[in-house]
C-alpha cells in the first residue's frame, strides 16, 4: 500500500506540472490585458512600460519557469515563515498580483480561512445530513420518508446553488429578515453576541452548500445501502441472531461506506471550485471570490496560482480516495 501510494505520488508530480503549463499557456494566449482596466488617458508608451515592469517582456517559457520556481519554492517558504515565525523566507521576487501588487501567497493566506469555514462547514453539514437520510431512505425504501428524501435531493441536485442562494436571500433576508444577506469577513468573534452574529451570517451560505452536497451524497448513500441490504451476508447476520441495529449499522453500513467515502473524498476539491458562485452571491471573500475578481481584471498570476492549487487538490484527493478504497475494502490490494 505504501509503495503504491508513493508510486502514485511520483506520477502525480508530472500530471500537476503539465496542468500548470497548459493553464499558463492558455492564460498567455487569452485576450485581455493587465492595463485594460486603467484609465484611458494613460498613453500607450506608459502602458507598455507598465507591461514591461510586470515582467511581460520575457518569453513565455521564461515567465513560466520563473513562476514555477516561485510557486513551488519561494511562496511555500514565505507562507510557512508567516505561519510559524521562523526566519526561512528566501530573498528575491515573489509572485505578485497585478491588481494589488502584493504577493499572491499573502492574499491566499488571508482568503483561505473564509473558504474553509464557509465551504468546509457546508460540506461537513452536507455529509452529516446526507448519511442518516441515505441510510433511513434505503432501510425504509418507498416509505414516505424515502419519497420525501428522494424529492428533496432531486431538487437539491437539479437546482443550481446560484438559484437557491438568491431564493434563500429573498426569503430569509428580504422577507423574514432573519439573516444578513452579506457575509462580513471583518467580523471577529469575541463574546456570545458576536458568536450569534457569526452563526447568523454563516447560516445561509452553509445551508445552500449543505443542501447541494447532501442531495448528492444521500443519493450515493441510499444506492449503496440498497445494494448491500439485499446481500446474502446480511441474511447471514440476521440468522446469527444479531440485533437489527448491529445488522444495519455494522454489517450493511460499513460495507456501504466503501463507495461513499471515496465519493466524499473526491468531492472535497470540487467543493472549493464549486463554491466560487456561492461565495460571490453571499460576498464571502474566499478563494473562489479571489479567482473571479482576478479573472475580471486579467490578473493572470493570481488566476494561475489559484488554478494550480485547485489542480493539486484534485489530484491529491483522487489519490486519497483510491488509498481509502484500498484501506476500507480488504478485497482490493494495489501491490
Amino acid at each position: 500500500m505504501l509503495s503504491y501510494t508513493l508510486r502514485r505520488l511520483a506520477f502525480a508530480i508530472p500530471t500537476v506540472l503539465v496542468i500548470s503549463l497548459i493553464v499558463f499557456l492558455m492564460l498567455d494566449m487569452a485576450p485581455g490585458d493587465p492595463t485594460g482596466s486603467l484609465p484611458l488617458t494613460i498613453p500607450l508608451e506608459v502602458r507598455e512600460q507598465i507591461r514591461q515592469s510586470l515582467g511581460l517582456g520575457d518569453p513565455v517559457m521564461v515567465r513560466y519557469f520563473k513562476w514555477l520556481y516561485m510557486m513551488c519554492f519561494v511562496e511555500p517558504l514565505h507562507i510557512l515563515a508567516g505561519l510559524t515565525g521562523w526566519d526561512i523566507a528566501p530573498e528575491g521576487p515573489r509572485i505578485l498580483s497585478w491588481q494589488t501588487r502584493s504577493p499572491v501567497g499573502d492574499i491566499l493566506v488571508q482568503r483561505v480561512p473564509q473558504t474553509l469555514w464557509v465551504v468546509g462547514l457546508g460540506y461537513l453539514f452536507g455529509i452529516l445530513i446526507a448519511l442518516p437520510i441515505g441510510v433511513i431512505s434505503a432501510y425504509r425504501q418507498y416509505s414516505w420518508f424515502d419519497q420525501a428524501g428522494t424529492f428533496v435531493s432531486m431538487i437539491g441536485f437539479s437546482v443550481p446553488t446560484f438559484f437557491t442562494g438568491v431564493v434563500f436571500i429573498l426569503i430569509f433576508s428580504v422577507w423574514l429578515g432573519w439573516f444578513p444577506s452579506m457575509y462580513d469577513t471583518t467580523h471577529v468573534v469575541r463574546d456570545w453576541n458576536s458568536f450569534v452574529f457569526q452563526a447568523k451570517q454563516i447560516a445561509m451560505p452553509v445551508a445552500v452548500l449543505a443542501l447541494f452536497n447532501a442531495s448528492q451524497i444521500s443519493r450515493f448513500m441510499r444506492a449503496s445501502m440498497l445494494d448491500n441490504l439485499n446481500q446474502d451476508y446480511v441474511r447471514t447476520a440476521r440468522a446469527k441472531g444479531l440485533g437489527e441495529k448491529t445488522v444495519v449499522l455494522v454489517h450493511v453500513l460499513r460495507n456501504s461506506m466503501i463507495p461513499v467515502v471515496t465519493v466524499i473524498a473526491i468531492g472535497i476539491p470540487t467543493v472549493f471550485t464549486g463554491a466560487i458562485i456561492t461565495e460571490q452571491i453571499f460576498r464571502v471573500n474566499g478563494l473562489g471570490d479571489a479567482l473571479i475578481r482576478a479573472i475580471y481584471v486579467s490578473d493572470w498570476p493570481m488566476v494561475q496560482t489559484i488554478t494550480f492549487i485547485f489542480a493539486i487538490l484534485i489530484v491529491l484527493f483522487n489519490l486519497i480516495a483510491d488509498v481509502l478504497y484500498g484501506i476500507l475494502d480488504p478485497r482490493i490490494r494495489y501491490d
Binding site: D232, Y233, R235, T236, K240, E244, N255, D329, P330, R331
Partner: protein, 345 residues
C-alpha cells in the same frame, strides 16, 4: 420413528410475497412461494427437501427459521412456537436454529475476518472472555477442517469449499440443535461437494444435529437424508422415508423427477425410460385451479383441474397429495382403477 421426539413441527406454513402494481402501488396479488406446507422433523434426522428451481424450497427453509415474516401457519421448534414471535424474541432463539447458506461467496461479510465472522454470534449471545471466545473459534475451525492460521484472513482469500466450511463453522458456533442447509453444495464443484457433505454428516454424528437439507441434487439427498420431501410450486407433493420414496415414488411429479437422475452405469442409463414433462412451471402468483401439477401431469384427470388434492398418509410415514390415491388410501391401491374412475367422472 413414532417414538422419536419431534424437534420441528411445521403446520400449514404459507409465505406469500405481495405484488403491488399501478400508480398507487395497490396490492393486486401474491407470489405464493410457499403455500400450505406441513411436515415434522425428528431429532437427529435429516429431512431432505427437493424440487426444481423456483418451487419454494429455499423460501420454505428461510420461513421455517423466520428469516421472513410468514403469512400464515405455525412453526414449533424444540417445543416453542415461533410462527408469530417478534424479531427481538426470535433473536434469543437463534442459538438453537441456524442456517448454512447457498452461496458461500456472498453470504460472508467481505469486510470481516474469518475469526470475526465465526465469533460474532458469540459476541452477541454469550458473555465469554476474549480468550474463551478465541478458543471456541479455533475449536470450530478444527471441527470443520480449517487451518487455525487462517483466522485473520478475509473471506475473499478462500476457495468456495473453504468458504462453505467457514459458513458451517459460523452456524455451529452456538451449539445449535437444528440446522437448515440451503443448497450448501450447489455452488461447489463435485469433488468439494462430497467433502462438505461428509463433513456435515460427521458433524451430525458427533454433535447430534438435526438437518433440513434443501437441494436439487437428488443423488446427494439420497445419500444424506433419512426422509425426503418433494416440493412443487410451493407445496409438498410427496414426503416419505428415503428408501420408500426412491423405490416407490407415488406422485407423478416425483416419478418424473426421479427418472431424470442420471445413472453412472451407461448400460442402465441407455435403458432408462425418462418421463419428460411438457410445458413450464406455472407462475406462483397465478397457480392453476385444482392440483398445482395438473397442467403438466402425464396422468391428469378431470378432478385434478377442479379440486386441490388432499395431503394424506398412504403408508406409515409416506404422504402424498394426489387424486390418484384418493379412494385407495392403501399402499397397494391399483392406480389403474383410479385412472378409470377419473375418466368415468
Amino acid at each position: 420413528m413414532a417414538e422419536q421426539r419431534k424437534l420441528v413441527e411445521v403446520r400449514d406454513l404459507k409465505m406469500y410475497f405481495p405484488i403491488n402494481t399501478g400508480i398507487l402501488r395497490r396490492h393486486t396479488g401474491d407470489v405464493k412461494a410457499v403455500d400450505g406446507v406441513s411436515f415434522d422433523i425428528y431429532e437427529g434426522e435429516t429431512l431432505g427437501i427437493v424440487g426444481e428451481s423456483g418451487c419454494g424450497k429455499s423460501t420454505c427453509g428461510r420461513a421455517v427459521l423466520r428469516l421472513y415474516d410468514i403469512t400464515a401457519g405455525t412453526i414449533k421448534i424444540d417445543g416453542v412456537e415461533i410462527g408469530a414471535k417478534g424479531q427481538s424474541a426470535l433473536r434469543k432463539m437463534r442459538p438453537t436454529m441456524q442456517m448454512v447458506f447457498q452461496d458461500p461467496q456472498a453470504c460472508l461479510n467481505p469486510r470481516m475476518t474469518v475469526a470475526a465472522i465465526i465469533g460474532e454470534p458469540l459476541d452477541e449471545h454469550t458473555d465469554w472472555s476474549k480468550a474463551k471466545k478465541l478458543e471456541r473459534i479455533y475449536e470450530l475451525m478444527d471441527a470443520v477442517g480449517l487451518n487455525r492460521s487462517f483466522a485473520n484472513r478475509y473471506p475473499h482469500a478462500f476457495s468456495g469449499g473453504q468458504r462453505q466450511r467457514i459458513g458451517i463453522a459460523r452456524a455451529l458456533a452456538l451449539n445449535p440443535k437444528f440446522i437448515i442447509c440451503d443448497e450448501p453444495i450447489a455452488a461447489l464443484d463435485v469433488s468439494i461437494q462430497a467433502q462438505v457433505v461428509n463433513l456435515l454428516e460427521d458433524l451430525q454424528d458427533s454433535l447430534g444435529l438435526t438437518y433440513m437439507f434443501i437441494s436439487h441434487d437428488l443423488s446427494m439427498v439420497r445419500h444424506i437424508a433419512d426422509r425426503v420431501a418433494v416440493m412443487y410450486l410451493g407445496k409438498i407433493v410427496e414426503l416419505a422415508p428415503r428408501d420408500a420414496l426412491y423405490a416407490t415414488p407415488r406422485h407423478p411429479y416425483t416419478e418424473a423427477l426421479l427418472s431424470a437422475v442420471p445413472d453412472p452405469d451407461p448400460k442402465v442409463e441407455a435403458r432408462v425410460q425418462r418421463i419428460i414433462l411438457k410445458g413450464d412451471v406455472p407462475s406462483p402468483s397465478n397457480p392453476p385451479k385444482g392440483c398445482n401439477f395438473s397442467t403438466r401431469c402425464p396422468k391428469v384427470m378431470d378432478i385434478c383441474r377442479q379440486i386441490d388434492p388432499e395431503y394424506r398418509e398412504l403408508a406409515p410415514g409416506h404422504f402424498t397429495a394426489c387424486h390418484l390415491y384418493n379412494d385407495a388410501g392403501e399402499t397397494g391401491a391399483p392406480r389403474y382403477e383410479c385412472n378409470q374412475q377419473g375418466e368415468d367422472a
